[in-house]
């Protein structure tokens, strides 16, 4: 006996609404959290941690980010320099500040130092910046989970 199929030959269609909803939710989640800023990123730097670390309440004025790795190499933007050869790059920043009617003392130097870097190198770097007229420094650290 031949049994006839009760459904016709149309292609079976799944209901995609729930899946699309879900995928959109995921895209929105990742889009909101993505951070394209390269200033704050450097894989070579492992920051020291501190229980007192808290993100600043207001963004720092004219931040200049210096990444200092364990071999005392300084990453500033796309340039890699040492403490002795950083002055020209900082002078460029000073010229930029002047073009905006500001002084070196208005800028904030953010030092992202590797935890194993000799402390004396950080002191040298601060001294070098100080000689060029910078006054405000921020030592960036990672939040320590209690």
């Amino acid at each position: 006996m031949k049994i006839r199929k009760s459904y016709d030959s149309k292609m079976a269609e799944g209901d995609l609404t729930a899946m699309i909803d879900m995928v959109f939710q995921l895209i929105i989640f990742f889009m909101v959290l993505i951070n394209f800023s390269q200033d704050d990123q450097n894989d070579k730097i492992k920051l020291p941690s501190s229980e007192l670390a808290k993100p600043p309440e207001a963004p720092l004025t004219f931040p200049i980010v210096l990444h200092l790795d364990s071999n005392a190499a300084i990453y500033m933007g796309t340039n890699v320099v040492t403490v002795d050869s950083i002055a020209p790059l900082l002078r460029t920043e000073i010229d930029l500040l002047k073009s905006r009617n500001q002084k070196a003392s208005d800028a904030n130097i953010i030092i992202r130092g590797h935890q194993g870097t000799p402390g004396g190198v950080v002191q040298d770097l601060i001294k070098k910046c100080e000689d060029l007229g910078f006054e405000k420094f921020a030592l960036r650290v990672r939040e320590e989970q209690p």
Partner: protein, 160 residues
């Protein structure tokens, strides 16, 4: 004159295939570029130029912190004001700061006692940050109690 629609009563169907392709591409992009980063914070250090003033320490509590290191850059001794030695016990150092400041936060970040940190050149930076953490405040639950806001560094001790 009445025009008759050629279309029947068929339900209009959207072609979703290409849209789903693009959405999945976007999703894969965001998943691959997503990076969980730990929260970061800053310690402020202000080094006013010599002769340009800055706020003098009016609290009469001079704090000079000397950090000594061994050849490997590990901390061996914490000396306060060239007289008190705390070994490598940060809790004792914080206790001393609490005693000096009376546990009171400075009225403004520009006021209050100033700590000058003098360290051996090869001391690992993480110990410097521990020193800064010990003197600047303490965490009480979710609150951070500030003790010292003004930190500065002594001139570097270049190796001979």
């Amino acid at each position: 004159m009445k025009f008759e629609s050629k279309r029947g009563n068929e339900k209009a169907e959207l072609q979703l295939t290409s849209m789903i392709d693009v959405i999945f591409l976007l999703l894969i992009f965001f998943v691959m570029t997503f990076k969980i980063a730990a929260q970061e914070g800053d310690f402020s250090v202000k080094m006013p130029l010599q002769g340009s003033g800055g706020n003098p320490d009016t609290t009469n509590i001079p704090i000079k912190l000397r950090l000594r290191a061994n050849a490997d850059g590990e901390l061996t001794d914490i000396v306060v004001n060239e007289s008190l030695s705390y070994g490598n016990d940060w809790a004792k150092l914080r206790g001393y700061i609490l005693e000096l400041t009376g546990g009171n936060a400075p009225p403004t970040p520009e006021e209050g006692p100033e700590v000058e940190i003098d360290l051996d050149y090869n001391l690992r930076y993480e110990h410097v940050i521990r020193a800064v953490t010990a003197v600047t405040g303490q965490r009480q639950g979710d609150e951070i109690k500030r003790l010292v806001e003004r930190i500065k560094f002594a001139p570097p001790r270049k190796p001979q």
